[in-house]
């Protein structure tokens, strides 16, 4: 986690042969997938000449890495681009810009033929178990398709291997000759998982793998994914809108908003002390199955309105139109995704639970004033308190007190008169050093 540069250095020599893919060469902890500046803009065409009049900026600049053996969870509201992201990294869609590297190989613009050998290592589980299985094919045909397409003859024959896979995912080998309609939703999802696992891939991208399933079945599939990861050393990218499910399955979590990652952090840190206001609002909105907390409105941050259109996303920070902490800088300057705490990258000028990154800016935008009305006093006070406490902790914890003292003094709104010269990157560096 701490030394990203090392990871890259280790990984690239392992793949010096370029396109030659050998099995099992990415040891746990090495970067399996690296995404840089990934963009996907869907053109909007109008009129007789079908001139392009705009673009839906579904994915608009993503940078992240997935390490071998880990699970990266991706959460966000509908329309934030998380599914598009999944399709881009598996190259089911052609990126507009940016690069996707898989095991050190640039796969951004490989064609269908060029991708084919890589498909063995990269598989996808789809959301809807009803539309992702061909109703006219038997389970045997569906699960053996990867072998057929890749020209692989598994040991002991295809049928035997398929039956083994079926038992791995908790189905009976006798289901070989049945058709998809004979199965329930949960069983169909298991078939999809068996198909994805057929060629023992390294990376499995699962797009909402459990959202179409009932709660009791959902738990079965979540446990199955868990077991398979442990046994086969799989790497997952799990895309889901359900924050509780993502928390359960992920090691690291990326929170997306309007085509961008706003926070990328280890699970524990993200859920215990979210730093981006959007993450905080998203977490607080999840209904807690505990009647004693009913009507505990004080803990909840209600966001006003809906997600803005990805056709013309707001300038500056994309969340500023709904954020209760937005100031002038948020409207003009887009915050970079910076590692403020080890293992926690955040793109925000005024993070929660941390020293303010743009302390000179304290005047709330009118949008923010409106949004703040929806945030209860208790929640605001609590957030100011934790920010101050964390900042103080950072201050006392490290030897470099000078730098962080400035930050700590400015967490309380209004107390930020002095030390305005301090800029965001500096603060980030300072705290990273201390840890």
């Amino acid at each position: 986690m701490s030394d990203k540069a090392d990871d890259k250095a280790v990984n690239i020599p392992a793949q010096s042969e370029g396109t030659v893919i050998t099995k099992g060469d990415a040891a746990p902890g090495e970067t399996l997938l690296k995404v840089t500046g990934l963009q996907k803009h869907f053109p909007i065409k109008k009129g007789l000449l079908q001139r392009q009049v705009g673009a839906v900026r579904a994915v608009d600049g993503l940078d992240f890495e997935v390490k071998s053996g880990e699970t990266l969870g991706v959460v966000g509201e509908s329309g934030c681009g998380k599914s598009t992201m999944g399709r881009l990294i598996t190259r089911l869609l052609e990126p507009t810009a940016g690069t996707v590297e898989f095991e050190g190989t640039d796969i951004t613009h490989l064609g269908v033929g060029g991708m084919r050998p890589l498909r063995r290592d990269m598989q996808m589980i789809f959301q809807d178990p009803y539309s992702s299985l061909n109703p006219r094919h038997t389970i045997g045909t569906i699960v053996s398709a990867p072998f057929r397409l890749q020209g692989v003859e598994p040991e002991g024959g295809v049928k035997k291997e398929v039956q083994r896979l079926l038992s791995v995912v908790g189905l009976s080998p006798e289901h070989y000759n049945r058709y998809p309609h004979e199965f329930s939703g949960g069983q169909r999802q298991r078939i999809g998982i068996a198909r994805a696992l057929a060629l023992s891939p390294k990376l499995v991208v699962a797009d909402e793998p459990v959202s179409a399933l009932d709660v009791s079945i959902q738990a079965q599939v979540v446990n199955l994914l868990d077991d398979l990861q442990r046994e086969l050393g799989l790497t997952y990218v799990i895309i889901a809108h359900d924050l509780s499910v993502v928390r359960h399955v992920s090691d690291r979590i990326a929170v997306m908003y309007l085509g961008k990652i706003v926070e990328l952090a280890d699970r524990e840190q993200l859920y215990k002390s979210p730093m981006h206001p959007y993450t905080k609002a998203l977490l607080s909105a999840v209904p807690i199955p505990d009647p004693a907390r009913r009507g505990a409105k004080s803990e909840r941050i209600l966001l006003k309105g809906d997600v803005p259109s990805p056709i013309s996303p707001p300038a500056g920070c994309r969340f500023h139109t709904r954020c209760w902490k937005a100031t002038e800088i948020c409207r003009t300057t887009e915050p970079p995704l910076a590692e403020l705490r080890p293992g926690q990258q955040v793109a925000c000028h005024h993070p929660e639970n941390f020293a303010d990154q743009a302390p000179q800016d304290v005047v709330l935008l009118s949008d923010a004033k409106e949004a703040a009305e929806l945030v209860s006093e208790e929640a605001l006070a609590a957030s100011a308190e934790t920010s101050a406490a964390v900042a103080a902790e950072v201050e006392s914890g490290g030897p470099d007190t000078e730098a962080s003292k400035d930050g700590a003094a400015k967490t309380a709104p209004g107390a930020a008169e002095d030390g305005a010269a301090k800029t965001a990157p500096e603060a980030a560096e300072g705290t990273a050093e201390e840890k």
Partner: protein
């Protein structure tokens, strides 16, 4: 919860046709069966509950457990569409404010529908008419029950849209459903259901199609509106988080029957049915650190044509062999009162269930 609420419920499972319901809404032994080529689908098979004004009942269960069929039954919508020869077979009693709905004249029920009872559907895009503006649809709903001119009705529509938090209601009243986002459509539908101040509001998966942030807005809205109008609300959902937010009482359905019913606190903290344990164990939770694995319910929900004999849950129940003489597979357990206003249908003795819950289940949650 006042003493008055549910005082009529203490009788347990009322059968027969003795009227005198004390509750605002009382459903007695409701059965909804659908004849099909494959056999009789027993979607709802004997459901009894009461609901007072100002209270919220949450109905939870998996898909196919009969939740939505129950709500459509109360609204009288199974008989409304009479397609083909095959009609739903409905029996039992539904008392709404002293009127029995199942035996009432359909025309009478039609007058109640919309005015005294209203419904919020899961998918607002298919529940709103794409051809008419939001305003036209709300005005229609209002004018059917109130003899007012279009102008007054329109004013009322704007007022309702404002109340549910649609920005610029006087402009958006002329928008078409496709011009609204998912959350706004759901708000518009809530405005339409509440335009006549119904005393009973049934919300069938009101937030399932929405994002969490919008869901939080809608749940808040439903709670506020209930406080304001004092309606009785039935929330149907598969999400235990949503019911925990809204419901005073909880009814857990499995295979068309109620398997546990009681105050929300009781059902969440002292559940006394293995299926309820299963639901609680399957749920990943945000509010606490969990052990590595979820505890799923094995197997899948039963077919409603061939409901397992005995307890419908017995093929999936890890404790099916605890009661003696194979009774779980032969005798269907009846709902029995196990605590104040708390019922469960299970063959295990109360001591057995209490022990299993406190020793085996609760520590793992």
């Amino acid at each position: 919860m006042t003493d008055l609420s549910k005082s009529g419920a203490a009788v347990g499972e009322p059968t027969g046709t003795s009227p005198a319901p004390t509750a605002f809404l009382e459903v007695r032994d409701l059965k909804v069966h659908f004849p099909t080529d494959d056999g009789l689908v027993k979607s709802v098979d004997g459901l009894t509950f009461q609901l007072e004004k100002g209270k919220t009942l949450g109905i939870v269960g998996e898909s196919g457990s009969g939740k939505s069929v129950t709500s459509l039954g109360i609204m009288g919508l199974h008989t409304a569409g009479q397609y083909g020869k095959r009609k739903a077979q409905i029996s039992g009693e539904i008392w709404l404010d002293g009127t029995e709905l199942l035996s009432a004249d359909p025309e009478e029920v039609r007058k109640l529908r919309g005015r005294q009872m209203a419904m919020i559907f899961q998918d607002p895009l298919s529940a709103l008419h794409p051809y008419y503006t939001i305003g036209q649809q709300i005005v229609e709903a209002y004018r059917i029950h109130h003899p007012v001119d279009k102008k007054t009705a329109r004013r009322r529509a704007v007022e309702m849209l404002d109340r549910v938090g649609i920005p610029q209601p006087d402009k958006r009243v002329d928008s078409y459903p496709h011009e609204f986002s998912g959350g706004m459509r759901q708000r518009a539908m809530i405005a339409m259901s509440l335009v006549n101040n119904p005393e009973l509001l049934i919300a069938d998966e009101p937030t399932t199609a929405l994002d969490v942030t919008v869901q939080a807005q809608i749940l808040d809205l439903i709670r506020d509106l209930q406080k304001e109008f004092g309606s009785a609300v039935i929330v149907i959902t598969h999400d235990l988080g949503v019911v925990a937010e809204l419901a005073d009482d909880l009814l857990v359905m499995y295979g068309g029957r109620c398997i546990e019913r009681g105050p929300a606190e009781k059902v969440f903290y002292e559940p006394r049915h293995p299926y309820t344990w299963g639901l609680l164990g399957s749920m990943p939770r945000l509010d606490r650190d969990q052990q590595e694995r979820l505890i799923p319910v094995k197997g899948s929900p039963p077919s409603l044509i061939n409901i397992p004999s005995g307890c419908a849950f017995n093929p999936r129940c890890p404790y099916a062999d605890v009661p003696k003489d194979n009774v779980t597979r032969t005798v269907r357990p009846e709902l029995t009162e196990i605590g104040s206003k708390h019922w469960a249908a299970c063959h295990m003795t109360q001591e057995q269930r209490e022990r299993i819950w406190t020793e085996e289940i609760a520590p793992k949650l």
